[in-house]
């Protein structure tokens, strides 16, 4: 990073006039883009976690729901357990307790639900082994042994969700690339404008023997530094905003923990150096092109 902005000598950066709208524009653009990048990054990482979790659960668990008259419930439950014990590919199966079912229903019906007095179906959680089971065969056996039992292997609702989460993650990364490209375009325009506005400065520098690489370097360092400073500001604000989002418990799992978790908090720190790198490359190209065009 320091190699991008360190001047050859202390005074060399003074050759570019100190103020200018284009420099402010660069800082603001880099800051705004860094702010947006933090959110795109948070979105990508969160949807990535979600997709991974859903995909993992999809591959391992399923549920059997038993809806039957109260007097037949125990018999059908025992029938389901027998079927499961003899079905290849199932690692374990257990019936959810009334307390677990109460917790599942609590978000909709509130606490202290008298679940024992309600015709709530029994739920059996099935965990498959690495080989997996034949879901169609299991459905047929359940239909024969326990007519009230329905196998839900979650495929129908989880697969599209996993697919959507994967696409959302991809969109997040595409957004980051687009933000970087937009930053480069804005900084290129700003640098070209600054170079054109400083044609007299460039003329003087050439008169005293400055090479174009020296002139370009001074402009590049100025824009790189401004972009870095702007990006630091934008990243700090964006990260604070993400940190202040309600967590998944408060938001009732709706946001599914949008934000950074664990080591992912390191990622935003990469944004300012990347913004500086983008600014460096954009300004360098703009400077070379513009200087070639100035006689």
């Amino acid at each position: 990073m320091s190699a991008l902005i360190a001047p050859r000598d202390k005074a060399s950066d003074r050759i570019v006039p100190p103020s200018g709208f284009t420099v402010l524009l660069t800082s603001f653009t880099a800051g705004a883009m860094a702010f947006l990048t933090v959110f795109a990054l948070a979105l990508s990482l969160a949807t990535g976690r979600l997709a991974d979790r859903w995909a993992s659960e999809l591959a391992q668990t399923s549920t059997i729901r038993i809806s039957a008259p109260a007097e037949q419930m125990d018999a059908q439950l025992r029938a389901v357990e027998r079927v499961l014990q003899t079905t290849p590919g199932i690692a374990s199966a257990r019936t959810l307790s009334e307390e677990e079912q109460r917790q599942l229903l609590e978000p909709w019906f509130g606490p202290d639900l008298p679940i024992e007095n309600l015709p709530v179906p029994k739920l059996v959680e099935v965990i498959e082994n690495s080989e997996g089971y034949d879901s169609e065969g299991l459905r047929q056996r359940l239909a024969a042994e326990a007519p009230g039992a329905i196998l839900d292997d979650h495929t129908r609702w989880r697969k599209p969700l996993v697919s959507a989460a994967d696409r959302l993650r991809m969109l997040g990364f595409v957004a980051i690339v687009l933000i970087a490209a937009s930053t480069a375009a804005m900084i290129t325009l700003a640098a070209q404008s600054a170079l054109a506005a400083n044609a007299q400065v460039i003329g003087v520098l050439r008169l005293v023997g400055a090479r174009d690489s020296y002139i370009a370097g001074a402009f590049v360092r100025r824009f790189t530094l401004r972009a870095f400073v702007g990006a630091v500001g934008g990243t700090v604000l964006g990260t604070l905003a993400v940190a202040l989002l309600p967590d998944s418990e408060v938001a009732g799992n709706f946001l599914t923990g949008l934000g950074f978790q664990g080591a992912h908090w390191i990622w935003p720190f990469a944004i300012p150096p990347l913004a500086a790198l983008v600014a460096h490359l954009a300004t360098r190209n703009a400077a070379r092109r513009t200087l070639r065009g100035i006689a």
């Binding site: 050859r8 000598d9 005074a11 060399s12 003074r14 050759i15 006039p17 100190p18 007299q200 400065v201 003329g203 003087v204 520098l205 050439r206 008169l207 005293v208 023997g209 400055a210 090479r211 174009d212 690489s213 020296y214």
Partner: protein, 225 residues
Amino acid sequence: MIELENVAYSYGGGELLSDVSLKLSPGSFHFLTGPSGSGKTTFLRLCYGQLIATAGQVRLFRKDVRELSRDGVAGIRQRIGVVHQDCQFLDHMSVTENIALPLMVSGRGGGGAAENLVDLIGWVGLTPRANALPAELSGGERQRAALARAVIMSPDILLADEPTGNIDWDMSLRLLKLLIELNRMGKTVLIATHDLNLIRAAKSEVAARVLRISNRRLQLAGSDL
């Protein structure tokens, strides 16, 4: 050092200079005169690689300017000091920083450069104005600052384009004395001016050769000078 051979320069469909030949030898002192618009500035620009001749050949330190890259021209300019009539400073930098600019861009700002800089500013009489901005200087002070900047790299050649154009006679003589002093140090000096009094004043001090641009051609001036 600087050689022009059958050089012509055209711009906008018209020929400004035609069949110009000249060889500036080390330690020589030249005046270039002619009416306004005769092509004096164009001639000087050809001499430091700012313009490329449309015909003929310009050689700077034995190198054909046409074959020089932009960096090559930059390198040559570190050996040719140029003083413009409008001085051309960086307005946001102090007098000292402007004078030190050639050192800065060539990476020679270290060592004894600071001491030499102070001496040079004293030589042109600008010590009290060293920290002023260019806009705060008088016309004569600006010209002396431009001269100091032109010689700080100890160039072999000094080109001055109407250096006394915006200053009074006393200041013109003071500047001329500095240029003659540089010539006595062995520097080649070429001054473009339309001020014939300045040329007459110089001829009593130095063996100056006077050239005139007339009808697009370069010729030796007559005995009236």
